[in-house]
Amino acid sequence: MILAVAGGKGGVGKTTLAYNVAAALDAVVVDADLGMADLPGGRGPDLHDVLAGEADPIETLRAGPVDVVPCGRTLAGARAADLRRLESAVASIERERGTVVLDCPAGRRADAGVPLAVADACLLVVSPRAFALADAIRTRALARELDAGLVGCAVNRVTEEPPTDAIADALGAPAAVVPADPRVGRSVAEERPVVDAAPDSAAAEAVRELARRVPR
């Protein structure tokens, strides 16, 4: 199972949710944001090297509370990355480890589209603000064209009651509300997924709810 976590807009929490949903699914999370990697890096080979044809995808796996395939931080690496290699790279990680979560970049360029094309399903992250929703709807259309079925959407960092039904209607998938919780915000940097750090919190329940929607 390959799940793409996308959202169109930057800064809505795609990386954070990809990391936490991967924890709930016991999956590997791949940092597919070639230009602005966010997941913890490492010293060894990374996704840039794989996409440049210089490393085997399996050797990039970095063990942790959630296993990560990190992405390089250089523009030269982003430039050398050949997206045609993504599909086979992700497929070999899936064969080895079962479930793979792809943390997608923002935007509607090829680097955002190819992970959706590679994925079996996608999860959209929106912030409760209207302008983020417009980007999510465009990403939804792109995912539909590229055959990545939408399993759900996450309304992230909610502080007051959001128009969940309107968002679910607009995107055509059930919406789960992830309340604003500093433990979620810190989870990636500290490598402590919220389902482990605070299993009884509302945020952890929302993440588990999203994970349950992912067919396996």
Binding site: A81, V118, G185
Partner: protein, 277 residues
């Protein structure tokens, strides 16, 4: 079938532009081939050639009266004519409903990845952003400039002031690390400047390697080095540049160790401040 063409020379490549028009009353499939002495470099997007192109030319389907403009490059001197119509065949319109346009056929046959790459914009940062390097990476850029790319220029007081501002930026970047959710690029700061410096030092190292190979070289080794550098003109000024490299590298090394010592001495109470905030 009506074909006109135009050719330009750019460096060692020939750029060919053509226009082709189907002046028949029925749809035709036309094969246009290059007569240049090198493989065709077709138009590409995301590294994938456009549909219909191969090393020798392109195959197009043209409706009656349809006009199409195309272009390609080849690493070969111009010839006259650069292109020719190799084949024109009628399109079997009864089979058409099955085979459709070559583009549509390709997209269906190709993977979803190929579809995404053909249809979406290129994601890669422009070449200038990676080759220049200095402008997009803050704090490191000054050290880099001193290190290699501008061996003759002296660091002015103005540049030092810029560097101080950059130091503040770097600190902000580190501070934001705690919340990657809000700042997608925050965690890149600490390592990226080093990559850039590493790249610059690699360039300096390559230059020093070359100078080393020429030091006390016998005739064969020197010839080889000159051939590799595309002629002796390329080597002119190498000795001065390497001498300047030596000076700059020594300065850089002194400054780097001084900064490392200062960095090790600092103890910013970030956690305490966060608790107070």
């Amino acid at each position: 079938m009506d074909l006109t063409w135009d050719i330009d020379r750019e460096g060692d490549a020939s750029l060919v532009r053509c226009r082709v028009r189907n002046d028949d009353a029925v749809p035709r499939r036309v094969r246009i081939e290059s007569r240049l002495g090198a493989p065709v470099l077709p138009p590409r997007r995301g590294g994938l050639p456009e549909s219909g192109w191969d090393e020798a030319g392109v195959t197009l389907r043209l409706d009656p009266g349809e006009r199409r403009a195309l272009g390609f490059a080849a690493r070969a001197p111009p010839t006259d004519p650069p292109v020719e119509i190799a084949d024109v065949e009628a399109v079997d319109t009864t089979a058409e409903s099955v085979s459709e346009e070559p583009i549509a056929r390709d997209e269906r046959a190709g993977s979803a990845t190929a579809v995404a790459l053909r249809r979406l914009g290129d994601h890669r940062p422009p070449r200038a952003a990676t080759a220049g390097g200095a402008d997009e990476l803050n704090g490191a850029s000054k050290a880099e400039r001193e290190g290699s790319s501008n061996p003759t220029g002296d660091a002015s007081p103005g540049e030092s002031a810029v560097s101080d501002v950059d130091d503040d930026d770097t600190f902000d970047g580190g501070e934001r690390d705690a919340d990657p959710d809000d700042s997608p690029s925050a965690s890149r700061g600490p390592t990226e400047w080093f990559d850039a410096v590493g790249t610059r030092l690699d360039a300096v190292e390559a230059r020093i390697d070359r100078a080393e190979r020429l030091t006390d070289a016998d005739l064969a080794a020197a010839t080889e080095a000159v051939a590799e550098a595309d002629g002796v003109e390329e080597l002119s000024g190498l000795d001065q540049r390497v001498a300047a490299d030596a000076t700059r590298l020594r300065e850089l090394s002194e400054r780097a160790s001084a900064l490392a010592a200062r960095a090790a001495e600092t103890e910013a109470p970030v956690e305490a401040l966060e608790q107070l905030a």
